[in-house]
């Protein structure tokens, strides 16, 4: 895989006013990949993006682009383009002029500029909007202009800083699919920053989960969801129940007051671990058939499923089920071996 690495970050350290934002970040990004930096606000994902764009200079560490060190290259000489949060369109220019900005700086012939801009506007479904002022556009349209303005330059890498953050849910979902389509049809590397885990899972080839300036896990969306490396990732990617447990031996874990068969091995015997169970993996059964018995405390209708809070063994469990239970009812909970994810305790 390292043969087609396009961007490489080595031991990046960033400080703002003496506060560490990134602590020795290492990351390789491959060509034509859709990579997402995912994490809560303040985790350093936008800073990482701005380092690649050239807007933040790292205190320590190196940035490589196609094997060349580009630490000292100013933004306007880099072969990447950015779609900014809140778009940052030029308010004094119309749609056409906004998109043409980069091409005019490259001093391309007027005719080529025209063809390429119109092509790009068609790609983002803004045909016929050339002469509109950007302030006359809706949020979704402005966002498309921002994408077109960046893509028209044929960058090798497109950086996107929470570009869909200001849009409503339905539009956001549409744009997610559109962006993915554009990325695949143009064969450009996309580096996407978001705090929305669903967005990350929907679009990415690779997800980089970050927290406090550190990478927690890098993997495909399936990996990240099914095999979270630690309790933080498990909790951040989708909802999950995280309870303390003891790994008795390989394939046997104790939690919630009893032993469970599981599929994990390689832990020291009797190691204190975090046990992660996804809410949709807990089956609701009659009390006699369940591994654990609990009392339903709260039920919320979520559309596709019901979300239940169940008190069992002193812990509140989150359960997703298509069938509702009465509040106060006693239920049995069944958890299969594949649904139990064992994690080393986070050092904190």
């Amino acid at each position: 895989m390292s043969t087609n690495t396009i961007i490489s970050l080595k031991d990046i350290v960033v400080e703002f006013d003496g506060e560490r934002v990134l602590e020795g970040l290492d990351l390789d990004i491959h060509d034509k990949e859709f990579v997402t930096f995912l994490g809560p606000s303040g985790c350093g994902k936008t800073t990482t993006l701005r380092i690649i764009g050239g807007f933040v200079a790292p205190k320590n560490g190196d940035v490589f682009f196609e094997g060349k060190r580009i630490n000292d290259l100013p933004p306007y000489k880099r072969q990447v383009n950015t779609v900014f949060q809140r778009y940052a369109l030029f308010p004094h220019l119309n749609v056409f002029e906004n998109v043409a900005f980069g091409l005019k700086i490259q001093k391309l012939p007027e005719k080529e500029i025209r063809t390429r801009v119109l092509e790009m506007l068609e790609l983002v479904n803004l045909k016929g909007f050339e002469n509109r002022g950007v302030n006359q556009l809706s949020g979704g349209q402005q966002q498309r202009v921002a994408i077109a303005r960046a893509l028209v330059n044929h960058p090798k890498v497109l950086l996107l800083d929470e570009p869909l953050g200001a849009l409503d849910l339905k539009l956001r979902k549409e744009m997610q699919i559109e962006l993915k389509k554009i990325q695949q049809s143009l064969g450009i590397t996309f580096i996407y920053v978001t705090h929305d885990q669903e967005e990350a899972l929907t679009m990415s080839d690779t997800v980089v989960v970050m927290k406090d300036g550190d990478i927690q896990q890098i993997g495909t969306p399936e990996d990240i969801y099914n095999e979270p490396k630690n309790a933080f990732v498990a909790d951040f990617i989708g909802e999950s129940n995280i309870v303390p447990g003891i790994m008795k031996k390989d394939f046997l874990v104790e939690f919630a007051g009893r032993d469970f068969e599981c599929v994990d091995s390689g832990f020291t015997p009797m190691e204190q671990v975090d046990v992660v169970v996804r809410p949709e993996d807990i089956k609701v059964v009659p009390t006699i058939a369940g591994h654990i018995t609990g009392i339903v405390e709260n039920v919320t209708f979520k559309g596709v499923h019901f979300e239940m809070e169940v008190l069992a063994c002193g812990t509140h469990w989150l359960i997703h089920s298509t069938q509702s239970q009465a509040v106060g009812a006693s239920i049995g909970m069944q958890i299969g071996p594949e649904d139990i994810h064992i994690m080393h305790k986070m050092e904190e």
Binding site: Y76, L89, E97
Partner: protein
């Protein structure tokens, strides 16, 4: 309906202190001592063409110098942190807290033939230079006194330019010079035209600066008007006529400049 009445005091104010004096000036300008209609006053203004030209020229030079000094400064200020910005605005305003006359007197003592500067040059065996009572001194006085009126409107406009827009331009390949010419300049046109107005108009009609720093030889239109009302040449009819001509000149200058400003904007649109 209520808002209509709440504007009433302002209408009264404008009628009393803007419209009425203007009418008075008009009446005075077109009448003689006996109150009879005449255009002699206006035609007499023609004798002072050289003073008019000098006023407009010196004010224009001062305005351009102000713009050249203020533009980069305002841009740098607008990109500083909030607390530094406040300090800078404060420092720029500070001289304005001192009396205008006092500030201009201070320049007199600095520029005099045996003033501070010439004594300083004397230490190195050069000079003395003739600095006071020159057109240069008048321009200097104008620039010094009116510079804040150029900086502040420019700064107010520039501080509104989103940093992300500048970053976006850099991201799209614009060098610092290109960012300045195709993003910052077109977006700051309103500040430029306000700044020019606020410096040019008081500069073209000043009389204190020219009298104190320009000596008797650099009479400006403001001095001329002053002489007609408070000087030996007492003639309010001529004074009103000159004021009227000055107003027309300023109006013409402003409309020419607005034309230019609009063109600037259009050019900016085309990059």
């Amino acid at each position: 309906m209520k808002s209509k009445y709440s504007a009433l005091p302002y209408y009264v104010w404008m009628a009393l202190f803007t419209i009425a004096p203007l009418i008075l000036v008009l009446v005075f300008a077109f009448t003689d001592n006996n109150g009879a209609f005449t255009i002699e006053n206006i035609s007499q203004v023609g004798e002072y063409t050289n003073v008019l030209v000098r006023s407009v020229w010196l004010a224009a030079v001062a305005t351009v110098i102000c713009l050249l000094i203020a533009y980069p400064l305002a841009y740098i200020m607008s990109r500083l942190g909030p607390s530094k910005q406040r300090t800078m605005v404060m420092l720029i305003m500070l001289p304005m807290w001192m009396n205008f006359l006092l500030r201009t007197y201070a320049w007199m003592t600095i520029l005099e033939n045996n003033g501070l500067l010439n004594r300083f040059f004397g230490l190195f065996g050069v000079g003395p230079f003739d600095m006071i009572n020159t057109q240069g001194a008048v321009v200097l006085g104008m620039v010094y006194n009116y510079l804040p009126f150029m900086i502040l409107p420019l700064y107010t406009i520039m501080v509104k330019i989103d940093n992300r827009v500048i970053e976006a331009a850099q991201d799209l390949g614009a060098s610092p010079l290109k960012v300045a010419s195709s993003v910052v300049l077109p977006l700051s046109v309103p500040g430029i035209s306000t700044g020019i107005t606020m410096v040019f108009v008081p500069a073209v009609s000043t009389f204190i600066i020219s009298r104190m720093l320009g000596g008797g030889g650099n009479l400006l239109i403001g001095d001329l008007i002053d002489l007609q009302f408070l000087g030996n040449a007492y003639n309010p009819h001529l004074g009103s006529a000159i004021s009227l001509v000055l107003m027309v000149i300023i109006l013409l200058c402003m409309s020419v400049m607005n034309q230019f400003g609009e063109e600037e904007e259009r050019e900016g649109m085309l990059i």
